[in-house]
Amino acid sequence: MSAGRNARDTIDRAVRESYGRLIAYLAVRWRDVAAAEDALADAVVAALESWPRAGVPDKPEAWLLTAARRRLIDGARRASLQQQTLPALLAMTDRMEREGGAADVAFPDERLQMLFLCAHPDIDPAMRTPLMLNAVLGIDAARIASAFIVKPATMGQRLTRVKAKIREDRIQFELPDAEALPQRIDAVLEAIYAAYGSGWDDLAGVDPRRKGLTEEAISLGRLLVRFMPEEPEAQGLLAFMLHGEARREARRSETGSYVPLLEQEVSRWSVLHIEEAERCLNRAAQAGRIGRFQLEAAIQSVHAQRARTGRVEWEAIGLLYEGLVRLAPTIGSLVGRAAAVAEARGAETGLRLLEAIPSSAVEGYQPYWALRAHLLVRMRRREEARAAYRLAIGLCSDPAVRAYLYRQSAFLNRWNE
């Protein structure tokens, strides 16, 4: 009984800690993510049978890797009547044996190739983030589905389909050449950023659709930085996410109410996260090449300075948003700029920027309506503010934020004209 539990604990730990590395190692050599996952799953089953009897091996990861590899070769042999490529696959596994060495745990870490594979131009941009979370971190389709508000069965099918495409279209696992690299790095950063979610701590509103996976996004960011410490945008993205993470506790009051950024108690911010974020940003600055994610991080860094100075330098934030809008005119950065300019130069100026955004882009974008309501209140345009609050509340999917906006809108009724 206890041998069984011991074996199971060891397997759980090995898979939890090494899942991404094991899958990456197998997938990169076999050029098939789905087959690598199936083989590792079978290896885990085999381990559950064998380890309680034979004892837990010294190097559990190496054992799992060898078992998974064997399973891949067997599968290829069985399919060999149709498979003209078996000799090539076997040659590859021979190389695997030499490189890996059956008992050697120090197998190479191929997760960078996996990150780039997941963000490959032939893969639907909407599936890059789910694929990364699933294939690199081992997060199951059901959890990814909840974070993206998609039916779990649908997410499962989409992941299966994208993995089949990788196999059938023989999508390149190799890292891109120097010419294609910058564009491909952007795609990787974009996918990690999408896992983190964006702007959900802004002054006015939140875009909470993907806020459930912030820790996972940070792990992906750390992974990328470990492989590419000289890439300023990777450092910038990590800094941005760490600044957001620093405020996690402060975003909710003791009773669970939503606390907007400007009302957060700075004593509840995590100093460790802020310091780490600042180190990343300094490292990024050494490259002397500014980019979208460094600007995003710099904006958060200015907010973080409130912990020392007690005030927010809105002019600086406005300037940073100006740069951001030039590099990445997303709906989030346009709304963010309007919020910053409203603080720096008055609600009228902010509202003018807000109203310059095409209405088709803002229709269902909740933060737009929340900021609009906030600015109209400051301008004492009561009826328009009320209309904006109705949409900001109606489009909100976070109960705590909805309650906050409702309390704000209720103040309107207490005004004397």
């Binding site: 649908t154 109606g394 909805r402 409702y406 809108s409």
Partner: protein, 115 residues
């Protein structure tokens, strides 16, 4: 594509409808949500429902019809409203479901109308 959003409410949520201290916030949650739905042009039809204790259930057993006070199933969460929306796909329907003010929503695709 037509999808039906079935809004389920807990006993506490149904109680908020009548509690003077919570009524206003409860109703505001609904009116703002329904307003956003209508404003976006996706609503085909829909309505909130009176609470389950006002329901009347009919059951047929062996050729006999039994009429009962209360809902068909005595589950903790009960139907509190129904909306049919016209959106491109299930992802879009789920996005709308996520914005609703109630604690549980079921989303189903509507069958094509019978000929």
């Amino acid at each position: 594509m037509h999808y039906t959003l079935l809004f389920f409410e807990s006993p506490e949520e149904f109680a908020q409808r009548k509690d003077p201290s919570q009524q206003e916030a409860y109703l505001a949650g609904w009116t703002h949500y329904v307003h956003a739905l209508r404003e976006s042009g996706v609503v085909v039809s829909g309505s909130g429902l009176y609470p389950p204790e006002t329901a009347t259930a009919l059951r047929r057993r062996g050729g006999e019809t039994l009429v009962q006070d209360g809902p068909v199933t005595e589950t903790k969460e009960q139907l509190g409203g129904v909306f049919v929306i016209d959106v491109p796909d299930l992802d879009a329907a789920l996005t709308w479901a996520a914005r609703s003010p109630v604690s549980a929503v079921e989303v189903r695709e509507n069958l094509a109308p019978l000929k």
